[in-house]
Amino acid sequence: MKKIKLKDKIREGMQDLFYIWKREFRTTFRDQGVLIFFIIVPLVYPLIYGFIYTNEVVREVPALVVDNSRSSLSREFVRKMDASPDVEIKSICSSMDEAKQLLKERKAYGIIHIPSTFSSDIARGTQTHVSVFCDMSGLLYYKSILITATNVSLDLNKNIKISRAGNSTNRQDEITARPIEYEDVAMFNPQNGFAAFLIPAVLILLIQQTLMLGIGLSAGTAREHNRFKDLVPINRHYNGTLRIVFGKGLSYFMVYSIVSVYVLCVVPRMFSLNQIGSGSTLFLFMLPYLAACIFFAMTASIAIRNRETCMLIFVFTSIPLLFISGISWPGAAVPEFWRIVSHIFPSTFGINGFVRINSMGATLNEVKTEYQALWLQAGFYFLTTCFVYRWQIINSRKHAFQKYREMKKKSLEKQ
């Protein structure tokens, strides 16, 4: 037997790697299904989502007023509520029943009830209560109406206090109104935009999900085209595990580096979302994220036996993954069990890290935990992918050998 030197083995490995890389690349671009998942879906989905949430905030929520007081003060209250950007007073109803009926017909989402003693209570110096009834079909409606009512009442309270205090200077008026001044600053997404909050997470999740679907699709196709329904074709070049894993991984990585640039840099710019991260931080962060996603998808794709089953299994996981990531539901409030489960998926760390870099301007130092976790995941899934593919290579060799033996037996019998 010719002694095979390590140097020769490495050279052979590199040649095979490039062969597999080129082959996988070609398969990706020839296969319409994979092309849809790798190119068209990341192209189109962000545009659709951006369009849906493009208004970002809820303005002019229709509300009704039942004004039993009908004094100038109550009219001032109603006027100020109408003037605010978040609420629009649709009509002033004569009774609660009429207002309730309009609520049933979906003409408005809230009722503001001003009691008949409103003005007289204030003049007398007792507290008066304004009731706000809100339809809870949307929490954004509730938030708009409540915040507006609160702000208007604070404003009126301030004026009442000043008029009662009988101060001599303007400065005294200011101090009476607010003994301790306060200022609220909304850092990062100051306009409370819904798109700026949700879309970055959706974009990162989209990368992971399309990778899972695309790689699953090509794995299922490879199995269908294979004679023994094996993942790895019987080919001289597909002998070593590392070359298969690296070859396939590199081709996906190449395609996805371009896709990521589009999804993470161009799309937010198109929809004027907050983008205060630095490019180099983002680039360094995306390296382990893409690697982790690719290897995770390659490990998961072993379960796919047919071309289309990947869609049935992976698509519905998108919604739970979005919730478990800590964006829609605050991470601090996620139960411990689900938090541990979420560590399995690269998207959890990816989403948190990306939101911090992109919307909060964090540097790599601040996303240290996510960054390290992603590298760990990339390494772990790389090992599992190698293990899985090694197992598949052994299986395919076994099947080929069995078939060879059967055919030999048959030809011997014929003779």
Binding site: D31, I36, I48, Y49, F51, I52, N55, K104, E105, G125, Q127, T128, H129, V130, S131, V132, F133, M136, S137, G138, L139, L140, Y141, K143, A149, S153, L154, N157, I160, R178, P179, I180, Y182, E183, D184, V185, A186, M187, P190, A196, F197, L217, T221, R307, E308, L312, I313, V315, F316, S318, I319, P330, A332, A333, V334, P335, W338, R356, A362, V367
Partner: protein, 379 residues
């Protein structure tokens, strides 16, 4: 029908999609948000005053249900970096000399910062910190008034003449689980119904058993389709009964109309989703394309049904388009029936829309039949 039953149990894929995945999602969503409202969200405190007043402010802030002062920082920058790291969702900044300036009526200024990149956490913390700031100012005035001899009632009336009483109808706990799960859970079921229906029809074309299927239905597309879909309807309806009982019976979510209208609505949703699945595979007989169409429609339904971001606030084109998604109509029926307890008459447009979905497949029947007979599977 018997043929379909045999097909359904032959592959574990069907069991996974129709039973295991929905069950997992039911349990996942309800347990994820089981606390209803997030409690004890971490915030930080930057206290440069260190007086008893400032310490009292931070202690009171910690006492709020949704807020927990988990860390103290020495400067604004430290707190900001902690926010960027994700340790805290906001922080309260108390400048030097607060107590002194407040007593001497020099109007000191506190500020609070929230991280609105996490919108839900930011909004809840904003509410609590704003209330705290108002109360802090009020405490100073109240102390002065008590000293001057006012009673508590007089003091409160002087400090806050107009009080806002909020009455969130039918969800007074502001329970996020009630708000989200009631549409998420049927939505996941609907997505799976889309995909399973499209898959079960498309895979017949792929495996070239479509002609045999038509023959068992005596060459009538209606009988064949009914035979295939009715067992699936039964299973999916069972799953929907299960989630209705789980949500309204076990978890006691508000169900002000009784469980029967909700069961009826679920049945309509199941049938409408199946018919949508039929249309999807009828329009695009290739299995892969039909499934992509189904997953696109299904995942978009979650956003466009308007339970998180209201449809009213979307672009007018989208407001019209939202009517093409069955989940939107189910959501509106749910709001009217279970959440608010209005009679069924108020959502009759939505019931009609769902029944229209059920009638739609008749338009693609011929195309589907010719696809079953002639279409060659192209990967």
């Amino acid at each position: 029908m018997k043929r379909e039953f045999r097909r359904l149990v032959s592959r574990p894929l069907y069991l996974f999609c129709m039973v295991i995945a929905p069950l997992f999602c039911y349990i996942f969503f309800t347990s994820l948000m089981s606390s209803g409202l997030p409690t004890d969200l971490p915030i930080g405190g930057v206290d440069l005053d260190n007086s008893s007043t400032s310490r009292r402010i931070l202690r009171n802030l910690d006492a709020f249900e949704q807020t927990a002062v988990t860390a103290r920082y020495e400067s604004f920058d430290e707190a900001r970096i902690a926010m960027q790291r994700g340790d805290i969702y906001g922080f309260y900044y108390i400048p030097n000399g607060l107590a002194q300036n407040a007593i001497s009526a020099r109007q000191p200024k506190v500020s609070f910062y929230t991280n609105n990149a996490y919108l839900i956490a930011g909004s809840l913390l904003f509410k609590d910190m704003k209330m705290m700031s108002e109360m802090a100012g009020g405490a100073v005035s109240r102390a002065t008034m008590y000293a001057k001899g006012a009673t508590e009632k007089q003091a409160m009336a002087a400090l806050q003449p107009i009080v806002i009483d909020t009455h969130p109808l039918n969800n007074p706990w502001l329970n996020y689980s009630v708000y989200l799960c009631n549409t998420l859970v049927p939505g996941i079921l609907m997505l799976l119904i889309f995909m399973t229906t499209a898959y079960s029809i498309g895979v017949e074309i792929k495996d070239q058993t479509a002609r045999e299927w038509l023959r068992t239905g005596r060459n009538s597309i209606y009988i064949s389709l009914a035979g295939k879909l009715i067992p699936q309807t039964a299973i999916f309806f069972l799953m929907s009964i299960f989630y209705n009982v789980y949500l309204y019976g076990y978890l006691h979510f508000p169900c002000n109309s009784g469980i029967l209208p909700m069961l009826f609505a679920s049945l309509l949703l199941v049938l409408a989703s199946q018919c949508c699945g039929v249309i999807m595979i009828g329009v695009l007989p290739t299995l892969r394309l039909g499934l992509s169409f189904a997953s696109l429609w299904g995942v978009l339904s979650f956003s466009i049904s308007g339970f998180s971001f209201p449809v009213m606030a979307m672009h007018p084109v989208l407001q019209a388009l939202s009517n093409l998604f069955p989940l939107r109509h189910y959501f509106l029926i749910y709001v009217d029936q279970a959440l608010n307890g209005y009679s069924m008459v108020y959502s009759w447009t939505n019931y009609m829309a769902l029944m229209l979905f059920i009638l739609l497949p008749f338009t693609v029947m011929n195309r589907l039949k010719s696809a079953l007979i002639y279409h060659k599977y192209m990967p």
